[in-house]
């Protein structure tokens, strides 16, 4: 009879919970910190802060192009508890991107939960290179936090 050979991953060999391991998170609720992960109870959980959490070097960049010229918006790091607040932060970042020529409006529809990026002034063709942008590699740009897929958009 063929037998199955189990694999046992024991706490003894769990580097994540080693006594010398330092655990940090992109964000954490005060009442549910990452320190709870050291408790073996599955119900003692780490939980992120509600909403959008922007961390420098992780999800603070948004690539876009104007007339095929690459621009990079840098979103201010921090917690944005609502979609409206995050939309405002992204809008501010796009309108402060070095070299930008257009003006943009970013909104969050509370009913559809969708973000919309609009060129509100200017004539340079807008491109959103969410697949090929330099900061979107391995999905590390902000586009996924805005609900966009890994696809280049234009027009």
């Amino acid at each position: 009879v063929a037998s199955r050979t189990p694999r046992i991953a024991a706490t003894l060999n769990n580097l994540a919970l080693g006594s010398g391991t330092i655990i940090t998170a992109s964000s954490q609720e005060t009442s549910l910190p990452v320190a709870f992960l050291r408790d073996p109870l599955p119900t003692r959980k780490w939980r992120s802060k509600l909403g959008w959490n922007v961390v420098a070097g992780y999800n603070d960049k948004l690539d876009f192009t104007e007339a095929a010229v690459a621009r990079v918006a840098t979103i201010t790091a921090g917690n944005y508890a609502t979609g409206a607040a995050y939309a405002t932060a992204v809008q501010t970042a796009m309108n402060a991107a070095p070299g930008h020529v257009n003006t943009y409006t970013v909104t969050y529809d509370p009913s559809t939960k969708a973000f919309t990026i609009t060129r509100s002034a200017g004539a340079a063709a807008l491109g959103l290179p969410f697949q090929t942008g330099a900061n979107e590699v391995l999905n590390k740009g902000a586009h996924r936090d805005l609900g966009f897929t890994d696809t280049d958009l234009s027009g």
Binding site: V1, S3, A9, L32, P42
Partner: protein, 217 residues
Amino acid sequence: VTQTGSAAYHSREWVRFDFGSAQSATVGIVHAHNMGTTGTANLYFKTADSQAWSSAAAFRVLTGDDLSGKRIAFFASQSYRYAVLELVDTGNTAGYSEFGVPFVGTYWQPGRGFQPGASRAAEPLSVVVRADQGAVYLQRKASPKDHRLTYSGLSRADRDTYQALEDDHRHVFFAKDPTNFPGADTIYGVIQPTSIGEWGPNGDLFAFEVVVFENQG
């Protein structure tokens, strides 16, 4: 010119583990998360904290056949100082990410499989209560499962390793069938100390029953 995305409720999140120095890992697990069957759990390895995400030293998607319970991946040994578990689940209406048990480390696999006849039994914790007037109530409680299986003919080295795990008296992820059912047949719980039988012509083969008590939290 307008572009509109899909519904988004929160950002991607991550938890980073700094081991202090490069350490080997062969398995990653995220257990008791809130992603249901959607979303994605990724495991990144980095050599330095400053290393860009886009150039992480190694990258694995944690998946399996029990997406709502645990995301899991076994892989060839990776040795790095930093590991990061990332949850990509921006469409989750909860508006946040969470999980209860992470695992990044090595697994142990004995030289032989377990014997046919493994069992799974529920501990019936629900209690029937009768009121003074005769009405019957059921106090419903979840039924954690006891999983039993038997090893026979293990080597001395395997026995020693197993005893070390048992003596540690801490939790394990016990993957009964890591090839075919890496998630559904992986039990999170504690192992009961057992008696280890010695047999074989030279006392160099060992047999014992393993009992894993599931921890449902």
